[in-house]
Symmetry: C2
Subunit: 155 residues, 2 copies
């Protein structure tokens, strides 16, 4: 779980990094998996997750952990903020100067040692604004297709 980096630049690692970097969107692991699969049909979702973790530990990509949502990944490592659509969950870049934490803010944090912050904007993306219900479809589970349960409980 604690990685320092990686040892080898494997084919899958390289392609995952390339694909992510040539995107200006911020895909989820599954979306990226689907993309990479076009080049490496047999690559597993686990491999994608493992590499995204390693690459982000190495500071070569960014993990975007934002409120109560699926994780997104960003090939851009320069500091910047993000806006998330509250309807479809998509993410876009917001380039503005980094917030400078005032003395007052730091004091408000009391006995916490503040080392950073995470600022995320919430809004409506152009597609959702236009009334589309979801700009991005809900995808089905990757795991063994389990079906809707229909149980009998005996208390």
């Amino acid at each position: 779980m604690y990685h320092i980096g990686f040892q080898r630049m494997t084919r899958q690692r390289k392609i995952i990094l390339e694909k992510l970097r040539e995107l200006d969107t911020h895909p989820t692991a599954e979306e990226l998996h689907a993309l990479v699969r076009r080049q490496l049909p047999r690559i597993g979702l686990g491999t994608v997750y493992r590499n995204l973790e390693l690459l982000s530990c190495a500071g070569m990509i960014q993990k975007l952990a934002t409120g109560g949502e699926v994780m997104h990944f960003d090939g851009e490592t320069k500091e910047h903020y993000h806006a998330r659509c509250v309807k479809c969950g998509c993410v876009r870049d917001v380039h503005m100067p980094q917030l400078s934490l005032s003395e007052k803010a730091l004091r408000a944090a009391g006995d916490f040692d503040i080392i950073g912050h995470r600022l995320e904007f919430l809004g409506l993306c152009p597609k959702c604004k236009r009334g589309k219900r979801r700009a991005r479809g809900k995808k089905k589970s990757v795991r063994t297709g389990r079906k809707k349960r229909k149980r009998k409980s005996k208390r």
Copy 2:
């Protein structure tokens, strides 16, 4: 999944709300469940989740959802920010004036309609600062005790 509110103030609902409001910490559903159980030994974790959802939809509490993290809940509904310990994950209040989004920031968001923001501070809580590995113990699964797998895979 889309709730407007609730119809009845049940005993469990009332106690969950009371307990959460008298805390100045920001417990997870499981932590709150453990607390409430002292008064209602047979209350289920599902009931706690259901009520926290309903109460937050009704605007009576706040859900603190940050990516890739366990959900925390806050009995305080007045707008304020939070600081999260990067080591143990605990959350504390940060009372400072709400950020006012500048024209420039809004322009930076491009074709997104910004309706709000989420700001969270990251840092070290006093306990973790003092070198303790974890200020809050890892708790075991609530679900049917499944044991470490030990499999044989055949490719």
